[in-house]
Subunit: 164 residues, 2 copies
């Protein structure tokens, strides 16, 4: 369950989505391409251990005319650990803009994962934390790239589906 | 703007509310009563510096038949500082249940204020953080008092109204 808040217009969005997160093999299609793209732009290069793939399909109440309209997508994510608390995540598709994205991540002392991503037009800040073994929350803030205005916030309550 | 998520029923709630937070005098009606109530139940007693009063009025989309139905209330909050990062908040009215409530607070290393409150029937965990000078976010999780099930989550995006 995800709620979006458009602050300027005081509009709510309600989204129901299914997310699948899977570990994938280092040799899987797309992983090396994404890593090479990262390497060519960086002076200091980190190695990676376990890439994964995230897929989603979402239904929003902002498309009431055609509720069968489901938005979906897939992206590859490669974590690059700097130290125990921080590092980078590179993604084949960004959260706020549909392009390759690089996020910095940092764990707070209470275990919250804080992700920051600079896009061309915007800056996204996400927080992900577990509130029980199988429920996690995720908040995101979208700012203008100048960093002054908050365009939008969102909050997701995510329940892990245990495969039997 | 506040969104509530009922996880078991996948139901969204949308709430628009106005919140007023004001510093109040130590001698204001109710402050001493609340502090005495706290003192009589505690072995280790902390002193307080600056009490404040919070008032709210909220409109929820769960009362569509009577949109003029506004829920509102007021409570006194007394912060009791233990050290620079933590302490207690005592409130004349709880967030999850309408009774005197005592919360422990803790600041994370990223500046997030984490509040935990044990009620008779439930445990509430709130997080409050500023995402810009005048926008703050607040998430809350309501668990059963056994602490196992998550009953409800909510998320608020709050814009400070600057008085001119």
């Amino acid at each position: 369950m995800r709620s979006g808040h458009s602050l300027a217009f005081q509009q709510f969005e309600e989204v129901l989505s299914e997310i699948t997160i899977k570990k994938i093999d280092k040799n899987e299609k797309g992983v090396n391409e994404l890593y090479q793209n990262y390497k060519k732009n960086e002076a200091e290069v980190h190695t990676f251990i376990q890439p994964f793939k995230m897929s989603w399909s979402a239904e929003s109440d902002w498309e009431p005319d055609d509720p069968s309209e489901v938005s979906s997508g897939t992206c590859i994510i490669i974590p690059l650990k700097k130290d125990d608390e921080s590092g980078l995540l590179i993604r084949s598709l960004g959260y706020a803009e549909a392009q390759i994205a690089q996020s910095s991540y940092q764990f707070s002392n209470d275990g919250t994962l804080v992700l920051k991503t600079h896009y061309e037009q915007s800056i996204a800040e996400e927080r992900i934390w577990f509130v029980s073994e199988n429920v996690r929350c995720r908040s995101s803030i979208l700012k203008t790239s100048e960093g002054s205005g908050i365009l939008q916030t969102s909050f997701a309550s995510e329940v892990k589906r245990i495969s039997l």
